[in-house]
Each structure stands twice: as C-alpha cells, then as structure tokens.
Amino acid sequence: MKSFEYQCELINESMFLLLWPDVICQEQHQYIVACQKAIEQHFQEQLDACVVSFASLAIHINIFKSNATQITAELPSLLSTLGSNLSLDSKLIEIPVYYGSEAGWDIRDVAKRADISIEELINIHSQDTYYAYATGFTPGFSYLGELNQHIVLPRKASPRLKMPRGAVAIADKQTAVYPNASPGGWHILGQTPMSMYDIGNDDFAPLINVGDRVKFYPISLDEYKTLGGEVSLES
C-alpha cells in the first residue's frame, strides 16, 4: 500500500489529530482507513475511539490508561509497517431511490440550476459509484463522494427544519441519505425506503461504513411502495 505523509496536531488532553493533505482522494483515504485499523488494533483499550474524516484521523485517548506522548512515540514505526497486502473490508451497497418530484423536493430546482433535464440529473446521480469518506452529523449519516461536477451546488442558504427520513440529497461535492428526519441544508433529489441502520440486540449497525462503496438506482413509485416506502411530501 502506498503511504501518505501526515502531520500530527495535539488538540486537547485526550485527543490528537493526524492530518493529511486537505484533498478528497480515495487512494489517500483508503490509506487513512488502514492507519485507523492498525492504530485501533495496536493500542486497543488505550484508546476510546478513532474517528476518520475526509483527510484526517482523530485519536481519542483513554486518559486513565495512556497518554499522547506514549502513543505518538509508537506511531511512526507502527504505520511504517502497513503492508501492501493489507486488504480493506469494503462492501458495495446498492440503494434504491424514488426520484419522483413529490419525493425529490428539489429535483426540479437542481436540474434547472445545472441546466439539464430531470432525466439527465437522475442518470448522472445514479451512474457513478460513490465512496464513503466519513460518518457524522448523526449516526448512520455517511458522506459519499465525489459528485459529478455538473451537479455540484452549495448548501441551501437556510437549512430546512425537517428533512424526511430516507431523503437522498446532495451538497457541494457530496451526496448522502438522511437516516432520520432532521434539520438539513442539502438539496433533496429523491427518497429511499432502505433503512440506513439496523438496531438489534442493543447493537447499532450502520448500512454504510467508512470505506464502503455506494451506488444509487432509480425505482418507480410502485417499487418504492412495494419496498415499504411512504413518500414524505413537503409541508
């Protein structure tokens, strides 16, 4: 595996960040995920958590068991041994989307602003395979990238108070599915009947993990309903 240079920034008593060049790059990101796995495996209960983002990795230290000096000292040798045969456990997840305009609250507006037809917009959004760079905002919310540059729009100036559960939306170079109804400033292209997480036996299992690949595919209203979907209309 190709390695990528990082910088270390100490943040507070229990956290430091590893920072890579500030770019969205799948190859670099796969290296960051590999670093995360290696660090978690090596330090075990010395850490509370390792959180990955687009070009950074947070190490949250269990301060009752370890400290930053100890961990940062061991990092260079640990990360230099990341082998080329390291295989990432990455799935391909296919997500059905109903792009009808009663579900895609902003689909007309986005098509108009991108100067393309709604059909072209649906084709563009559903033809690419996206990569999951980060989990955040709310549990089960996965930042997927990168979006085709034809349909890149900034977030809405004022966020909606309520995005529906299952909203498939875009903002900047990203796309995502809202796991639950929540406020949000992204543009809604459609809705999916698929749940973004599963809760059983007190376990929270997200559908998409960081490093997974995701593809959207269009479905009809009938298929949407057959899959248990119920269109949330804009109120």
């Binding site: 770019v23 959180v51 955040g136 809760i199 929270f204």
Partner: protein, 314 residues
C-alpha cells in the same frame, strides 16, 4: 429490576432531568455524541460525597424546579448550581451528603447562579447502559438505545455498588461556581491555525470579552463580541470537515466563536482556534446566556497535569 431498589419517584419535573456519567466515548466513530455530565466538577463531587466511585451514574438537573419523593431511606448528595434544596419544606444540605427518609419530599428551586445541578445516591443509580455509558442525548432519543427520557411519575432505582474509599485525600473545594456572575477567564490550548494568526489578531481575541448567546445548548455555546475573526488567505486553513470534540472553539461564518459542549457532533467543518481545557470547560458549562468570559492561551502540558490532578481527587 428488583422492586426493592425503587428509591425516588419524580413527582414533578420540567423535562429537565437526565442520567449522566463521564460520557460514551467509544461510539464516536459511529457518529454518536459523547455526552456526559456538563460540569464534571460538580458531578464527581456529588458521587464522592456519597462514596460512589468515579463515573457512577447520577442525575443531572437543568435549572432546578423538580420534586422527588423517597420510596426508601437513602443517602444522597446535591451539588452544582445551588437549587436551595428543601426536604418537607425545611432547608436541606447542599454540597454535603444527607439521609432522605422514606416518604419525605425533596424539592429543588430554580438556581440563582449556574445551570446544572447533580443528585447522587449512595450505591449509584441503576440505569440501562449502552456502550458503557448511561448518558442520554436529546437528539439520539430516536434510536431508543439508552434509558427513556425521564418524565413525571418516573421511578428511579438505586444500585448496589459497595462504598468506594477514595485512595486520595486531596482537598476539594466547592468554589468552582464562585465568580460566575463576573467575567470568568477560560484557558485554551491554541491550534496551529491560531498561532498562525497575526499577533494583533491574537491579542484582540485575548482581550475581548465574550458573552454567552441565548442560542446555546448542550451541543454548543455560541458567543458574541465585537471582535470578529477572519482567516483570509490563511494557508493553515483546511476546507474539509474534521473530527471535533467538546471544548473546541470553532469560528462560524459570522466570525464569532461557538464552543462545542458535551453533546456536540463528532465531525465539523468550521475552523478551530483551540480547545478550552477540560477543567475550565466544566465551569464554563455553568454560564448562562448574557454571562461573560475571556480567553487566555495555555500549554497542553499544563492542561494535562491539571486534569490528572483533578481526577486524582476522586
């Protein structure tokens, strides 16, 4: 749950009660907030007064105004924002353990100063844990992974934890809330980005008086001031979202700071000036809208030593 463990009944509350401990630190990678007691100073003190081990579940009360009935004799301690506790209309102990007898009524009034009050019971509260923590985060209720939100009529249960003898006999003062009605000084660990600001701008920030905005909650305290920070052409500014943590001083689009609190998100996109040191964040959490603070930089080494000494007391 053992019927005999029913210890307190919530007669009336303002939807302002939550179970808290030191937070759920292990589920951040899944996007779950850390949570935990907003003022660990008061929370840890409440537990130590009734000989509970560090991290035992306690009740966090926001702005007082609640009434409980004891369902059995129990030893309790109340700390944090002073809620003028009364037992059957008689003044009760504050910052000192006492026995509440079966049938007695405990009433808490709105505090004059501060926000969060803690109630700890000897033996600890017995509460459903998820990922090693009982902390309840309002916007994560929808997942149903933690104990249900506490409402009127709820019964609280006591645990059977053995009394915990503190190894240390370091003195502990209850002066954490002193001076909240004046401008408090908050120490922070600067980031590389802060250190790259022109010295003039750093001085402006360190000399400014910031006020807590009404638009503040357990996720973040927004601050207002005349001083606006901008990062024009700063080469240390990063555009992609990064993991965040409680205490971080973010600068939002209007140039004003937001201090991330215990229920913050796990990833954020705003530039970060630094992190308020944890022992000062416990005090800052008790500030109300309109109250004020100043920032002063300090070293991570200093902050770590202070925090180690803090936890050693419990």
């Amino acid at each position: 749950m053992n019927h005999n463990s029913a210890v307190l009944k919530v007669i009336a509350c303002n939807n302002n009660l939550s179970y808290q401990d030191l937070g759920r630190k292990s589920a951040q990678a899944l996007g779950f907030s850390v949570g935990g007691a907003a003022d660990e100073y008061a929370y840890c003190h409440a537990n130590s007064l009734v000989k509970n081990e560090l991290g035992t579940p306690a009740l966090e009360i926001t702005l007082g105004q609640c009434t409980f009935e004891a369902l059995q004799d129990c030893e309790i301690a109340i700390t944090g924002a002073h809620c003028l506790p009364q037992v059957d209309q008689e003044k009760a102990n504050f910052n000192q353990a006492f026995v509440l007898k079966k049938g007695q009524t405990l009433t808490l009034s709105p505090p004059l100063l501060g926000v969060f009050t803690y109630l700890s019971i000897r033996g600890g509260l017995q509460v459903k844990q998820w990922q090693n923590s009982v902390t309840q985060i309002a916007r994560e209720r929808v997942f149903g992974l933690t104990a249900p939100h506490i409402t009127d009529g709820e019964t609280l249960f006591v645990g059977t934890n053995e009394p915990y003898q503190r190894a240390s006999l370091l003195p502990f003062t209850t002066a954490n809330l002193a001076g909240l009605d004046e401008t408090i000084t908050v120490r922070f660990i600067p980031t590389t980005l802060y250190k790259s600001l022109p010295l003039r701008e750093q001085l402006d920030i360190e000399q400014a008086i910031y006020q807590i905005s009404p638009n503040s909650d357990r996720m973040g305290y927004r601050l207002t001031s005349d001083v606006k920070v901008s990062f024009d052409k700063n080469k240390n500014l990063r555009s992609l979202s990064m993991p965040v943590a409680a205490g971080m001083i973010q600068i939002s689009n209007d140039g004003l700071p937001i201090i991330l609190m215990k229920d913050s998100q796990t990833i954020g996109g705003y530039p970060v000036l630094g992190s308020v040191i944890k022992i000062d964040l416990f005090k800052l959490a008790q500030l109300r809208p309109g109250q004020s603070l100043k920032f002063v930089p300090c070293s991570l080494q200093f902050a770590s030593t202070q925090l180690e000494m803090f936890y050693a007391k419990f």
